[in-house]
């Protein structure tokens, strides 16, 4: 089913002005449960990616549905993190990269020459493997993306802080220390703060690059619960080394090996009856 939202405000090429003022009244917040469901929110088409002359992604093609958790799994060096980082064009920072093929979000190519990368990144939140809160207060960390977008209204900033921290399950612990340094939080709290920061701008897509690999099991399970809550509002793409984690939280799973997409299907199918022998070997632990 090809349901796409296509009004002028949605086209990324002309979205610069709108992107500067996020908020609940902005009709680009399409992650709204009342909108029709889009199974092809992100579509990756015949995508090749090169670091200089080395090709790290070969002819990757799949679609990421809206408001689902999609997990990218595979052994080290298989290109899953690279693919994730390309979704919000973070790899543009590296010299000498180029690609073939396309990545589209709501049928708009993210490589369109008129598209501003900054506008794209405002629509996509990212959480990194090692939590990287800014050396500012908790409050300033959460409102960072709103401030760089130009929002100054204190009431709206306060409301965004409460909304994001609550959604990240950090509000109760942080509400009395909003104006203390974020570096005073524990590791798990810092990662939840980074999640709050990533969702403060109400992006459509949330990218998570092994968010729990640096955390202990209890913090990990809290974040996994959080992800299951967040998926009601956001489309989540998560890269993980931990197959059990993928099995626990992901709706769909993509298995990568040496830069190629080997299999992509509903999680239950990948883990119980994978179609491909390599997939089966990986999920049963015979390698990787």
């Amino acid at each position: 089913m090809d349901v796409t939202q296509h009004n002028g405000a949605d086209s990324y090429a002309g979205s610069k002005a709108k992107a500067l003022h996020p908020g609940p009244d902005n009709d680009m917040r399409a992650s709204n449960p009342s909108q029709p469901f889009d199974p092809r929110l992100v579509s990756i088409e015949n995508y090749d990616f090169f670091y200089g002359t080395a090709q790290v992604l070969h002819n990757v093609t799949f679609e990421i549905p809206e408001r689902n958790v999609t997990a990218l799994i595979g052994p080290s060096g298989c290109g899953k993190s690279t693919l994730l980082r390309n979704l919000n064009r973070m790899n543009d920072l590296i010299d000498g990269v180029h690609h073939r093929g396309d990545i589209k979000i709501r049928e708009q190519s993210i490589y369109h020459p008129h598209l501003e990368v900054i506008a794209l990144r405002k629509r996509i939140g990212m959480v990194f493997q090692k939590s990287n809160p800014f050396p500012k207060t908790i409050y300033e960390n959460v409102v960072y993306s709103l401030r760089v977008a130009g929002l100054k209204n204190k009431a709206r900033l306060d409301e965004a802080v409460e909304r994001s921290l609550s959604a990240a399950a950090l509000w109760d612990e942080a509400k009395d220390r909003l104006h203390t340094s974020a570096l005073g939080l524990s590791g798990g709290q810092q990662q939840r703060l980074c999640i709050a920061r990533a969702i403060a701008n109400q992006p459509e897509i949330l990218l998570m690059d092994e968010p729990c690999s640096a955390l202990d099991p209890i913090a990990t399970s809290r974040i996994e619960d959080l992800i299951l809550q967040l998926k009601k509002q956001f489309t989540i793409v998560i890269v993980t080394h931990n197959m059990q984690q993928a099995a626990r939280i992901a709706d769909r799973t993509a298995f990568f090996y040496l830069g190629r997409l080997i299999e992509y299907d509903a999680t239950s199918k990948i883990f119980t009856s994978p179609a491909n022998k390599q997939t089966e070997d990986y999920v049963t632990g015979r390698f990787g």
């Binding site: 992107a19 919000n88 973070m90 920072l93 010299d95 900054i118 506008a119 990144r121 405002k122 629509r123 996509i124 939140g125 990212m126 990194f128 090692k130 990287n132 809160p133 800014f134 050396p135 960072y144 993306s145 401030r147 760089v148 977008a149 340094s181 570096l183 980074c194 920061r197 990533a198 701008n201």
Partner: protein
């Protein structure tokens, strides 16, 4: 408990321990040298301000050290040293080796000199006369003598034996100090304002002539200028008359005193600043005089070709110049480093630029002085003068001044700031940058909000190094704006408040001037050390301020390696 190979002597010492000892020794020697230098400067710089006792020496008959024919002379003992056939060495030596004393006898107007050497063997008797006085004076340095009487214009003569003498003298000296300050106010401030306006009018007249405006044109500025000048002349005449009147009052009271050689001298009280009975005062009062002397050094203007008085203009000039230099170098250096590190494509051109910057740090500072003279003073200054000040009789920016001096030194210290900033920028973690970009910030927003605050401690380190290097350089300054004596500060209360075109005094240059170009090198010696101590102190204070700021920034932005 058997002796295994592990226990034998060779492996009991951890490897490299001798290098640890060597490093510790090197550090200790370095610290000892620094402390030794500071100690030497402190002792030799501070000691002359401690009020010393005056001795009266009677020489043996026939001694060749008689001063102006008198076998009795007196003064403060400045130094004792051993005379050897091939030069002299201080203190130490054989107990019976011939020694000589250096006396500060003061009274340069009477003796023609103020320091005298006396052979220790020539001394017949030593006495500490109780009633000898040391006077601080406006001219000719201090006077040492025994007061005889005070001839006042209104109250007749007050003999020194009179119980009222000391208080009367002190009263009159206070009055004359007040009078001198009033004269200074009239001359410097009020007449100065008039002079400035006259100068502006003269410039306007020159401009009118240049433009060819006819004098007889009705409503032209010529009449207005002439009228204003006449008015100013009248005011000036009145002020000058008042100043003259006050100056005449200086001569109202005359102090009569006897030198220790016996001659009698007369001196108007208006020329005396302060006095003390050096052989009568107790230690507490000595301490007070000591602190007063140091305060005079810090706050007063120089007198007697910079050998007497204070060095406040040099302190202020050094401080202001270092401040201006820091204001100039920081934005320039930081922006250059940001461009090189963040925006420029890293290729052979950027590498070449970086090499050039690093080499610039090794260029001798006098070369910067010549560049500053040619580019800033002659080219830029000359252009500014011809564009903005065409009718001034003398060069405004086309000659050396504090602006060009600060800019020259800013250029000289820019490499330090650029290198330190680049290192600080590189030390900001990738995670912080990526987190910011992932939040939708542009590159400049990331730099402004995340990278620069995190790099701030390192940038301040660069600034500290730059200030330390800049405050101590003298050679380039000599070409671009430092002078030996300048009564006006570059900062004053008349618009535009900071006079960037003015020449200024500088502590480092002051040391050079005192040490090598002073007409009276013995009198200059304590000033040399005191000035050196002040220069070190000023740099330490500036660095401490920057270190405090850096610590505060470090605590706030706990990431980063600096």
């Amino acid at each position: 408990m058997s002796t295994t190979p592990l226990n034998n002597r060779r492996s009991r010492r951890p490897a490299g321990e001798s290098f640890v000892w060597l490093a510790a020794m090197g550090l200790t020697i370095g610290l000892a040298m620094i402390l030794g230098l500071l100690g030497l400067v402190v002792v030799k710089g501070v000691e002359p301000f401690w009020p010393k006792r005056v001795v009266e020496i009677t020489l043996r008959a026939g001694s060749e050290h008689a001063l102006q024919g008198s076998l009795t002379l007196g003064g403060e003992i400045v130094m004792q040293r051993v005379k050897t056939s091939h030069g002299v060495s201080q203190a130490g030596g054989n107990a019976d080796a011939p020694r000589e004393w250096q006396l500060f006898v003061g009274n340069k107007d009477a003796y023609g000199l103020s320091f005298r050497f006396v052979d220790a063997t020539d001394i017949a008797a030593i006495r500490h006369p109780q009633d000898v006085v040391r006077f601080e004076r406006i001219e000719y340095g201090p006077a040492i003598g025994i007061p005889v009487a005070l001839e006042t214009s209104r109250n007749g003569m007050i003999s020194s034996t009179n119980a009222e003498f000391e208080s009367a003298l002190r009263q009159r000296i206070d009055d004359s100090n007040k009078r001198r300050r009033a004269i200074e106010r009239i001359e410097r401030t009020e007449i100065g304002t008039i002079n400035r306006e006259m100068k502006d009018l003269a410039i306007e007249r020159a401009a009118l002539e240049r433009r060819g405006v006819e004098r007889s044109e009705p409503g032209s500025r010529w009449e207005a200028i002439a009228a204003r000048e006449a008015g100013l002349q009248k005011t000036y005449a009145a002020l000058a008359a008042r100043a003259r009147e006050l100056r005449d009052q200086h001569d109202d009271d005359i102090l009569v005193y006897r030198l220790l050689t016996g001659a009698e001298m007369r001196m108007p009280v208006g020329g005396v600043i302060d006095f003390i009975y050096p052989n009568q005062v107790g230690n507490l009062e000595r301490l007070q005089v000591f602190f007063r002397n140091i305060w005079v050094l810090l706050s007063d203007e120089p007198r007697e070709a910079n050998t007497d008085g204070g060095i406040f203009p040099a302190i202020f000039g050094t401080f202001l110049m270092t401040l201006l230099m820091s204001i100039a170098v920081t934005p320039f250096g930081v922006l250059a480093a940001i461009y090189l590190r963040e925006y420029a494509t890293q290729g052979p051109l950027v590498r070449a630029v970086r090499i050039a910057i690093n080499n610039l740090a090794g260029v001798p500072s006098i070369v910067f002085g010549v560049f500053g003279l040619g580019f800033f003073v002659y080219f830029l200054g000359g252009t500014i003068d011809s564009l903005l000040f065409p009718d001034h009789p003398s060069a405004v920016f086309g000659t050396g001044g504090i602006l060009w001096a600060s800019l020259t030194l800013a250029l000289m210290t820019a490499p330090v700031v650029i290198v330190a900033t680049e290192e600080a920028l590189a030390s900001v973690t990738r995670g912080a940058r990526e987190g910011s970009l992932a939040c939708g910030a542009s590159k400049w927003q990331t730099i402004q909000r995340i990278v620069l605050p995190a790099a701030a401690p390192g940038i301040l380190t660069g600034l500290i190094l730059a200030m330390a290097r800049g405050a101590g350089e003298v050679a380039p300054l000599m070409l671009v704006g430092v002078v030996k004596l300048q009564r006006d500060l570059p900062f004053s209360l008349d618009f535009p408040f900071v006079h960037l075109d003015q020449k200024f005094m500088h502590l480092g240059f002051h040391v050079y001037d005192l040490g090598f170009q002073s007409p009276d090198s013995d009198a200059a010696k304590p000033m040399v050390f005191a000035t050196t101590l002040l220069l070190i102190g000023l740099v330490i204070v500036l660095n401490l301020m920057a270190i405090v700021i850096r610590e505060r920034l470090r605590r706030r932005y706990a990431t980063g390696a600096f």
